[in-house]
Amino acid sequence: MATTSNMFLYSLTIQPPTAITQALLGQFSGTKEQQIITASGSRLTLLQPDPRQGKVNTLLSHDIFGIIRSIASFRLAGSHKDYIILATDSGRIAIVEYLPKVNRFSRIHLETFGKSGVRRVIPGQYLAADPKGRACLIASVEKNKLVYVLNRNAQAELTISSPLEAHKSGVLVLSLVALDVGYANPVFAALEIDYSEADQDPTGEAAKEADAQLVYYELDLGLNHVVRKWSDTVDPTSSLLFQVPGGNDGPSGVLVCGEENVTYRHSNQEAFRVPIPRRRGATEDPQRKRTIVSGVMHKLKGSAGAFFFLLQTEDGDLFKVTLDMVEDGEGNPTGEVRRLKIKYFDTVPVAQSLCILKSGFLFAASEFGNHHFYQFEKLGDDDEELEFSSDDFPTDPRASYNPVYFHPRPLENLVLVESIDSMNPQVDCKVANLTGEDAPQIYSVCGNRARSTFRMLKHGLEVSEIVASELPGTPSAVWTTKLTKYDEYDGYMVLSFTNATLVLSIGETVEEVTESGLLTSVPTLAVQQLGEEGLIQVHPKGIRHIVQGRVNEWPAPQHRSIVAAAANENQVVIALSSGEIVYFEMDADGSLAEYDEKKEMSGTVTSLSLGRVPEGLRRSSFLAVGCDDCTVRILSLDPDSTLEMKSIQALTSAPSSLLIMSMEDSSGGNTLYLHIGLHSGVYLRTVLDEVTGELTDTRQKFLGPKPTKLFQVSVQAQSCVLALSSRPWLGYTDPITKNFVMTPLSYTELEYGWNFSSEQCLEGMVGIHANFLRIFTIEKLGETMIQKSIPLTYTPKRLVKHPEQPYFYTIESDNNTLPPELRAQLLAQSGAVNGDAAVLPPEDFGYPRAKGRWASCISIVDPLGEEPKVLQRVDLEGNEAAVSAAVVPFASQDGESFLIVGTGKDMVLNPRQFTEGYIHVYRFHEDGKDLEFIHKTKVEEPPMALIPFQGRLLAGIGKMLRVYDLGLKQLLRKAQGEVAPQLIVSLQSQGSRIIVGDVQQGITYVVYKPESNKLIPFADDTINRWNTCTTMVDYESVAGGDRFGNVWILRAPERASQESDEPGSEIQLLHARPYLHGAPNRLNLMVHFYTQDLPTSIVKTNLVVGGQDVLVWSGIQGTVGVLIPFVSREDVDFFQNLESHMRAEDPPLAGRDHLIYRGYYVPVKGVIDGDLCERFSLLPNDKKQMIAGELDRSVREIERKISDIRTRSAF
């Protein structure tokens, strides 16, 4: 298979998808606490809402390597723990349990029922579990339904039966829920359409009259058999069902939601129907009917029948729907329904799933844009909102009635407490280094309608600054220290200047201390709290030991000074300028005792480290000494071998800083590491063997061009390494994956840092830069991408960058939306008449809609300004909408760059229609801050792709490829050729070669022949790829993504590529014999990989300092992924082996075959799945050992290789 390829890439996800396809509430840990399970792409994520802080924290995210189609939760009677059922594309049903102790998902059952893949008749699209946890039904879009009976055996283990079939051919399912029937036989309700009659009727009448049916399927637990129990015709526009509480809680049955229609239905009850109120407003179309798109049912504690629904329309309006019950003689509700009521509740962004928590919060998983976490202020019980009751409306949806209206208003019942960043949908993405930092940033456009955003993504940890104060001089170092062993917080902050030392006390205020006992007339090398109440200061001329006000001074030998020092609670070690090392240890009476011998080193000592005293021991048993001869030595401090050398390691540069520190490792235990910072800016981490002192398993990372300094700090009760080079970095163990990560801090450069702990700031850091003292904290580990967003106006379509200036231009357009000029017109008309003219903010309420209308604009985004914002907006008028954009330098204008925007007028998307297409030309003013419209050129079709080409513009207009030059009145046509079979959507070029991507017919290579001014296709594709994006990897190859979620690389055959570029070959090319109705040559597939997400952009760039070029792709669900090329064949073999072992040892949770998943459409070729390889660190130790044994390497070596490949080229 893949071994035949000579190109190998390593695929990694650097930001997982943030779109949530479904969210579920449950007690998955088995405690009272409610948690949320979300399915996003192939990931199952467990979220823990924190009601006290009003935050949602991620507990666990698990890639199941399969498409999650539907999830459901259930609880066995008498149990307190919810299980999760997964319906995926594996053709199997999986039951998963969350294990809170180890923080893992564990699979309990996996039952195969059909073929894999997302197919029409393979169950998986719908999943419903009986509310009492006795059965679940899994159904396909068409025909098939399977019921599994869930039970428990004598050992109280969950059991699952063999499936019971409830198939009916010719039936399409629109929605499926489980009925709440208490402890009667489980019943499932499905909304179905039957097409078997329509298939037999040549007149087409049957299809027009096809009705939607509400069908009940009953599982007879006694007979172990499913029957179609009841069915009735419902409104033909119905599309969604909601479960109504039953048993003791309510009347049971379902709510059937269709176009302007919410109907209560049950087999033994009357039907009740209310219409969905329409929005009233000057710009609203009073005739437009709304549909329910999502909703949630919530049971209130206490009384029976206390429940309500929140149903959401496509505008985002939430309606509260309640049922009134007939009351018996004593005023208690009976099981009979009397009326259905609906009223406006609040407006939130359109959600995929809504979850109401018992603690009074609402989690809204938005279908596009940020997810929101709201708190209920009230339940809208006694407000002035009009309530509409089913008494006033006929049950038959075809009967006439008066539509009802409401006025939308800002939130009254809900309060937004947290907005969770989501890049879904990500439409376009560029990588550029605008800030002038070491590593480039990712700029992307996401969101839809008025909730669209331009986002900057930077790799780093968020830092919150507490203090930044100016100092009188420029200190060279800073320390904080406790005053006694028993202090909880630091007492002194000591600053060292070139010839003085400043001591400050830490407390409510920071003040200078004069009677500290520390020598202030000299610079300081180290400060340390020693023993019970002692304090030492190491300065170039000696060591000062202060105990309870008494001062003991140890002077340095004559003509020598101290150059480096290290100390911990019990030990002090110094290095003299002569290269000698002097060791002190605190003895029983609390005084420092010098060790008799001095150890002579070969070179000048640059740094020392002792490491903290391990708990329960008297001393740290190792001393690390770094010398300017590029070595690090480990000396023993054990009493019987004091200052004996244990090991030595040669380095590439002199060490500038050393730190012995233990950290948590992937197995969960602690490992002692020696962290080394080099003068060259490289950071190394080496395992220090606790017994022998050997140094093994070195990992390195280049941090920046300045010498690296290392400090031990504490973040979230974890010991971390603060590494300072040209920018600050933090090395820590990732809380979820337990991998060691080195992440830059999003903060200014620092020269020195130290841990800082006070009453106000428990886990802070203090740092100095120039003459500024800064105190800061890091709140969250693990989230390594910092997002900043700028709101945009409409759904973004493309993003282009100014060639020199740090500005971006976005084109945005919204279909079926009133453009601003019509909005203003309508408002002006109505404003005179009544008070409907209040305009609500479009971010929350959306723009008014109008069929066939387009609202579109061009925005200039300044991401670097004081306050990043949109500088200017150019609205397009006349129902034109922008579809493509490019910045093109025209040779005829002395290389001046222009912004070119392609538009379409009166476009209808499906089937594709339009009246005209245009190409607009804008001139940049004020370095790109302003745009001047020059002219527009009418073309036959909206141009879907534009690029600069040899000082001219190249446009893809329908099937036509055309070269334009800039004229005074319009663009001038210079050359053209019909090169694509259907519609050109992407263009790339290098030299005279143009790579044309067709909307569904793959890639065509075209050559431009300047001599004859012809565009000639010479190679095309073997597969109909539905291109979304392309980029050239080299002159011969192109990488791209398609609409089904594949990423691929194609390469032109060498001979064809050369022939095309030979001068004068046009005759030959023009008359070459077409091969199988296509171009004369075919492209070769080099790489193919299924990513699950739909790639919307792909670029070749580098992401880290000194890293190689990688392919960065962005997905519509918010994924950012990279493909890293392998350099050596050995690495390929190693990772291929590792991948195949991982497939066997860590099979995907939902039972999808990993290899088949990654080769969903085309067999995977030339790509190794890094996401799977990275799961290695999560395996239990014995499996790790086993794989390591098979691969003939150590576990550490494998982990190092996995982390190396990531850190070398990506984050």
Partner: protein
């Protein structure tokens, strides 16, 4: 002979189990209807693809999904009249 029968039975079983499995007499209309139904159900079943369409059309995902499923009812128009029933148009031409 037995083999042929078994093949026949096997084919019939497949046809019963997997809707749309072809047979020698599959008409053009049947084939097209089947392909379209497969396509629509595939779009409805792949969330990124559904988002892509919903985003372009500026409609909620839930509405696009139910529209896709509804389109499966009769994706390529009514079936051609059966032989003997047709009045003007012969079925071959109509079906293609």
């Amino acid at each position: 002979m037995a083999d042929k029968l078994r093949t026949q039975q096997e084919l019939e079983r497949l046809q019963a189990k997997y809707v749309g499995t072809g047979h020698p007499d599959t008409t053009s209309w049947e084939w097209k209807t089947n392909i379209h139904r497969d396509t629509y159900s595939s779009i409805a079943g792949h969330p990124p693809l559904l988002s892509y369409i919903a985003l372009a059309e500026n409609e909620p995902v839930a509405k696009v999904r139910s529209r896709m499923i509804r389109k499966m009812l009769q994706p390529v128009g009514p079936p051609p009249p059966r032989e003997g029933d047709e009045i003007f148009v012969p079925p071959r031409q109509n079906g293609s």
